[in-house]
Symmetry: C2
Subunit: 139 residues, 2 copies
DNA sequence: GTGCTTGCAAATCGTTTGCAATAGC
DNA sequence: GCTATTGCAAACGATTTGCAAGCAC
């Protein structure tokens, strides 16, 4: 596991390392609560405030993405490469999908005079699994 | 002003009409509070709960979009045609941009087995105006 | 010892809920 | 009169704030 904290000028600490590790090992787009609960056994004194602070730091330094695809559940992704996200409105899970678009941000780009720094492509619908479950219930 | 309430099986009421009118006349992507404040003079008893209920109804019936581009400020758009949104992280305004992408949802589409019902394209950065202001301050 | 990091408790604020009042057919 | 809609007040819950304690160089 290669952590990318120093690359993003983030001074490492036990909490920061564990949170980044968790994000890199679990591509489940966890929210603050899930990260906190998952790490509490290893770091019993870890506070939610620290998780909030750390994620904000990661996002500001470009080491993670904050996903706003679900208005009820802000979640995070350590994979900062260009890809799309899919929210299943049945089970609430967020999946990665390949990015399909014309914008291929390498650094920043200017559209119509506006400086674009970030691109997010969000899809919403019903995922494979939930579709299958629905069919099974009907049949 | 042609309202599209009946088209979306929404029974009209004074509150619903005024809220839809506001959305169609102001393409500023207002949030609940802005809509409520703007309409209070005309509808003094309008409650925020009704604005919440009404917008939820509009979104469920496909008469408006809920934008989650700004995690601190959920906003709404009565223009449901396919277009992208740009959030200026300096002034907080949300602008419309032309949609650039391969997905051209006419109804629903299937990607990798998942049923996609909605596509959102979000850009974040610094808008024209704020860039100009920044330059003026520096010079 | 100085400055950054962490963690607790309290405060904040957007949103939801429960329920009573009202309006429309 | 029945049903849907509205509106108030209270509850809720995610996030932020203030500040004291802890850690690292």
């Amino acid at each position: 596991m290669i952590l990318n904290l120093e690359e993003h000028s983030i001074k490492p600490s036990m909490q920061r390392i564990k949170i980044m590790e968790y994000l890199m090992e679990h591509h489940t787009h966890p929210n603050v609560d899930e990260i906190h609960s998952a790490l509490s056994p290893q770091l019993p004194t870890l506070s939610k405030t620290t998780v909030y602070n750390t994620l904000k730091l990661f996002v500001c330094q470009g080491a993670a993405l904050m996903l706003t695809i679900d208005d009820k559940n802000i979640c995070f992704d350590a994979d900062t490469s260009l890809h799309a996200h899919f929210l299943c409105t049945e089970c609430g899970k967020v999946y990665d999908l390949p990015y399909k678009g014309e914008m291929n941000l390498l650094g920043s780009e200017v559209i119509d005079g506006n400086l674009v720094k970030e691109v997010h492509q969000y899809y919403r619908g019903v995922c494979k699994k939930c579709l299958k479950n629905k069919k099974n219930i009907i049949n």
